[in-house]
Subunit: 223 residues, 2 copies
């Protein structure tokens, strides 16, 4: 069976778990703490990052969340998530990159630094200026997602795609860390609420990162 | 015809130019200065970044260098660069991510900040501590590339792939900015030297970024 090396608040691991859930690919979780930089993780992935998808029986190791998503897309027929014309697929991949790189750098990464790493590792108080900026950035990103969803059925087009999974993964971690103010983002909120009720999403919503509590609305599917 | 929005020291634009060169896809260059954050670039790409590949006649805009590379791979048959089995393709994509994300963050980005942005925009001297660390990081990355090339014909396997283009693009920008010490990296140096003589690479080697001069060895193909 696949072993997924991850930690509960890794947005890239969450994207992969959503994809594997949608495709019905089973796996077991192998917990990593990113700040420990474990020898096992570095031996599996020269980039020293989660997620890593490893099959010890087949001696197969896959690294980089986008490379792993493409691999699953190529090898598992069920629920295609990078689908359509070449232009449509380019749009899906553009948005995956926007959420993986820009949303992550602007919102998720500073929240993880201030509200996870500082609390659990550095034992420092969060920098409120950095938090305010991250929430302001989140607001701008949600404005863009509102606009996408006002103009399309799903984030990248007429059907659900990897772009929706990538967006939901980043938003879910930011929401866990109290970085999302849902006010004024009705379209994204409705889209996200539908997402939260999917069987691929439910297991993640009940998981906790030790020592960090999500806000009350986090796991509720109706808001 | 395609218009490629780029600037001469953008490593992601260089990767794309190498791919388009290998595939024989013609394009014209549209110059962007990343620090100017032009309205035209933001209108084309909500991530505000180069490269953007734009065809005004077809009203088609493609953003994100990896999404564009996948698009070209899907639509242009010549010189496949993400080829082979699903596992082989995952290895190519893993290495592209390693060069695009880790090499860039560890080496190319700090060099661009210290030796391009500070010289041309901020008018500040470079921070020698940051430069030393970037060169140390480059050394570690080249060690890994040495190891890859000692064990394979090309970076990702038996044939040239997008991983070679991604590595050469990052290295070429770092080399232009004086960040590569080639001593002790014979395998990578020989691989890179072969690369520099390819028709897809030659046009870039003669281009200059105004106000920044590359070291004497930069454009020579025999070292």
């Amino acid at each position: 069976m696949w072993q997924l090396h991850q930690f509960p608040l890794c947005p890239f691991s969450r994207k992969l778990r959503l994809l594997m859930g949608e495709k019905g690919v089973s796996y077991e979780l192998k917990r990593e703490n990113p700040w420990e930089e474990s020898d096992e993780l570095w031996a599996l992935n020269p980039a020293g990052r989660t997620p890593v998808l490893h099959d010890p029986d087949k001696n197969l190791t896959l690294c980089d969340s986008r490379a792993i998503c493409e691999y699953l897309e190529e090898t598992v027929e069920r629920s295609p998530m990078i689908n359509g014309t070449a232009v449509g697929r380019a749009e899906i991949r553009r948005l995956v990159a926007l959420f993986d790189e820009n949303f992550y750098a602007d919102v998720t990464a500073p929240l993880l630094q201030e509200r996870m790493r500082k609390r659990l590792v550095l034992r420092e108080p969060p920098d409120s200026r950095v938090l305010r900026q991250a929430m302001k950035n989140a607001h701008a990103h949600l404005d863009y997602i509102d606009w996408l969803i006002d103009n399309r059925a799903w984030v990248a087009g007429a059907t659900m795609s990897l772009a929706d999974l990538a967006a939901a993964a980043q938003i879910s971690v930011a929401d866990y860390l109290g970085g999302i103010d849902w006010k004024d983002h009705g379209p994204t909120q409705r889209w996200y609420s539908v997402f939260k009720s999917r069987p691929s999403f439910r297991p993640m919503l009940s998981e906790k990162m030790e020592g960090i509590h999500p806000p009350a609305h986090y796991a509720k599917v109706d808001i």
